[in-house]
């Protein structure tokens, strides 16, 4: 075991699964790069270098650069998944989903149901999401709530290098279409990641901190912030449980219910736009199913209802932060009813 970056973890998962199963292919814009160009082949490995080296290892027949034509190649990935391959398609930034969403939500997601169960669509769509990169409104969105909304899709959001490798291998071996969200600010984060392949199950939450006072649920990069907040709060004598659900669809609501029943207090941290997002989804499910256990209002830590601004001065205050999570936890500790 060695320290690996999130980028390396993703790359390793792809490489190991491609080695294991010849049906796994990778496709997307510049996933290798340099095609038709006079210089270096495999020049890019995606804009942030995540798939670099795969083409040299597996050749251009299994690492396919595409024209800029997301409906075309995401649809082709769906069609290929329906007919014997296990494609991992690269949607680069999830913000681009608007040019190809139909192939995802009306085609890949619905094949199995529309066709009466006969299809399987082992498709993975990897995509970058999230703010902090100063990439402005069209390259900073989260949008996983849109995919979570759609029956037939699975949605994974790894929060660390270890999670990324295990969840991506699971995604590739999974027989349903999976949208795999990689936060672009996590790529350089490092932690211990086993060298051998392993899977992390979908729909099983991970508890990254345990404490009796408040339950915090967070996704992707927000898990890091929630852990930091929990550490800081521990200093104030507030003990937090931090839940990383790993996947929003399926969602391990049972674990969240259980923890909320124990703490009676819930804060949900979601980097996505605030309306109809995962914070509302979890709050609502808990308010419906663990109402009696709640000792204080559920708090949602989310950005305001605005596009993601470009200027660092604005983006920094736009995003959920450790401070905002700490405040929310303090607020749920302050208010509310006694233990039942």
């Amino acid at each position: 075991m060695a320290k690996k970056s999130f980028r390396q973890a993703v790359n390793e998962a792809l490489s190991q699964e491609m080695a294991r199963d010849p049906r796994v292919i990778v496709m997307g814009e510049d996933v290798a790069g340099g095609l038709g160009a006079p210089g270096e082949d495999d020049a890019w490995g995606g804009p942030l270098g995540v798939t670099k080296g795969l083409m040299k290892q597996f050749g251009r027949e299994r690492v396919l650069d595409t024209p800029i034509t997301e409906s075309g190649f995401i649809g082709a990935a769906a069609g290929a998944a329906l007919t014997g391959l296990r494609p991992v398609a690269d949607l680069m930034f999830v913000d681009f989903m608007g040019v190809c969403f139909d192939q995802i939500f009306n085609q890949a997601a619905k094949f199995k149901y529309m066709f009466g169960g006969k299809a399987r669509t082992p498709l993975v769509i990897r995509t970058m999401y999230g703010g902090g990169f100063r990439a402005a409104s069209q390259h900073s969105q989260c949008l996983y709530p849109l995919f979570t909304h759609i029956p037939g899709l699975k949605v994974a959001i790894p929060s660390s290098p270890y999670e990324a490798k295990g969840l991506l291998i699971q995604a590739i071996r999974d027989d349903d279409p999976v949208i795999f969200f990689e936060h672009k600010m996590l790529y350089d984060i490092e932690e211990e990641v086993p060298d051998e392949p392993y899977t992390l199950p979908f729909g099983e939450a991970n508890l990254t901190r345990e404490g009796d006072d408040v339950t915090i649920v967070a996704f992707g990069r927000m898990v890091m912030l929630a852990n930091e907040a929990a550490d800081r709060l521990a200093g104030e004598g507030i003990a937090c449980t931090v839940i990383d659900p790993r996947t929003t669809s399926p969602l391990d609501i049972e674990t969240i219910l259980e923890e909320v029943r124990a703490t009676g207090r819930l804060v949900v941290v979601d980097e996505a736009h605030p309306r109809c997002n995962m914070a509302t989804d979890i709050s609502a499910q808990i308010a419906e199913r663990a109402f009696e256990a709640l000792r204080a209002p559920i708090r949602m830590v989310v950005p305001p209802h605005t596009p993601v601004p470009f200027s660092p001065a604005l983006e920094d205050i736009y995003l959920p932060s450790v401070a905002k999570i700490v405040d929310a936890v303090r607020a749920v500790m302050a208010g509310g009813r006694k233990a039942a």
Partner: protein, 321 residues
């Protein structure tokens, strides 16, 4: 003409089957028994059958909202199709899909599609599977004149061109997208567009089974030889409305009657095979009779078959969840 007697009989049978299937669904729809949107293929039979003639079960097709003909030409079970259209559990999709989503993956029929232009990228994917797994299979994307203007169609053509995919784009130009004439909606020339993407393209009389088959055969051969995609622009006609319920006031009053009289692909087929002395009228009549029995049975069974059970609502969303 390179088809033997059996092949010719099969072609005629499939075209008849489509025609009678559609005429019957048209009649049954009028009774109110058939739910939903239904788009009939009658009049366009030479396309589906001519194109699919040289395909095997390994080969795949991606179809459209007007998919019954493609299903039949690709070998889907007619009872299963009819039951599906009636929303029965015995339907090809267990009643969950309906007319617009009939699929049979075992026959290489990748699905009708409710999204105009939705099928072309999927066909590229099937072609990519064939190429990557070296199965030698070919994929066909059917699409209408309306679909030819959809961005997905253009993207798929370019992708197929640069990836040299074994895929055939078949533009079924029946003159209309809903009530809008292709003469208006399709700027320029589809054949030139395809050539602009670097794809060999031809225009074919879509009423003529033999012309369609000839062009498709060449395209299939090109695909199997690893020479990449082809494009066929078929000019043909639909006999019924855009969907059942469409009054077709946008067409000339005698337009369909004239088409049926002068351009009908079944009549043309009969004339050609009899002029060439290939098949005698009696054999063709016999086929029509057999087909009628088949359709009658399909409708009778579909009507009698059970609806899906409540528990079926929740299955088939995921392989595992």
């Amino acid at each position: 003409m390179q088809l033997n007697r059996d092949e010719l009989l099969r072609a005629y049978r499939d075209m008849c089957l489509i025609r009678q299937f559609e005429e019957r669904v048209h009649a049954e729809f009028a009774t109110g028994d058939i739910p939903g949107f239904v788009h009939l293929y009658a009049g366009e039979e030479a396309s589906a059958v001519g194109v699919c003639m040289d395909l095997t079960e390994r080969d795949t097709i991606a179809s459209t909202h007007r998919g019954h003909g493609h299903c039949i030409a690709k070998g889907c079970d007619v009872d299963g199709m009819m039951a599906e259209i009636y929303g029965r559990k015995s339907g090809l999709c267990g009643g969950k899909g309906g007319s617009m989503h009939i699929a049979d993956l075992d026959r290489g029929m990748l699905g009708a599609n409710g999204i105009v232009g939705g099928g072309a990228p999927l066909a590229c994917g099937a072609a990519l599977s064939a190429k990557t797994l070296k199965t030698g299979a070919v994929a066909v994307a059917f699409g209408g004149d309306g679909a030819s203007n959809q961005g997905t169609t253009a993207e798929a053509m370019n992708l197929a061109s640069v990836w040299r995919l074994p895929v055939i784009f078949v533009l079924e130009d029946n003159g209309y997208a809903e009530s809008t004439a292709s003469a208006w909606s399709v700027g320029g020339d589809p054949v030139k567009r395809a050539e602009g993407f670097g794809i060999p393209a031809t225009r074919v009389d879509g009423h003529d089974f033999f012309a369609v088959h000839e062009a498709a055969r060449e395209a299939v051969a090109r695909a199997r030889a690893g020479e990449g995609p082809s494009f066929l622009h078929l000019k043909l006609a639909r006999y019924f409305g855009h969907f059942e319920g469409d009054g077709m006031t946008y067409r000339a009053p005698d337009e369909v009657a004239r088409l049926r009289a002068e351009k009908d692909c079944l009549k043309l087929f009969r004339r050609k095979v009899s002029e060439a002395g290939l098949l005698e009228g009696a054999a063709l009549d016999a086929i029509e009779g057999e087909v009628a029995t088949l359709i009658e049975g399909a409708v009778r069974r579909a009507k009698a078959d059970a609806m899906p059970e409540p528990a079926d609502l929740l299955t088939d969303v995921y392989v595992s969840y």
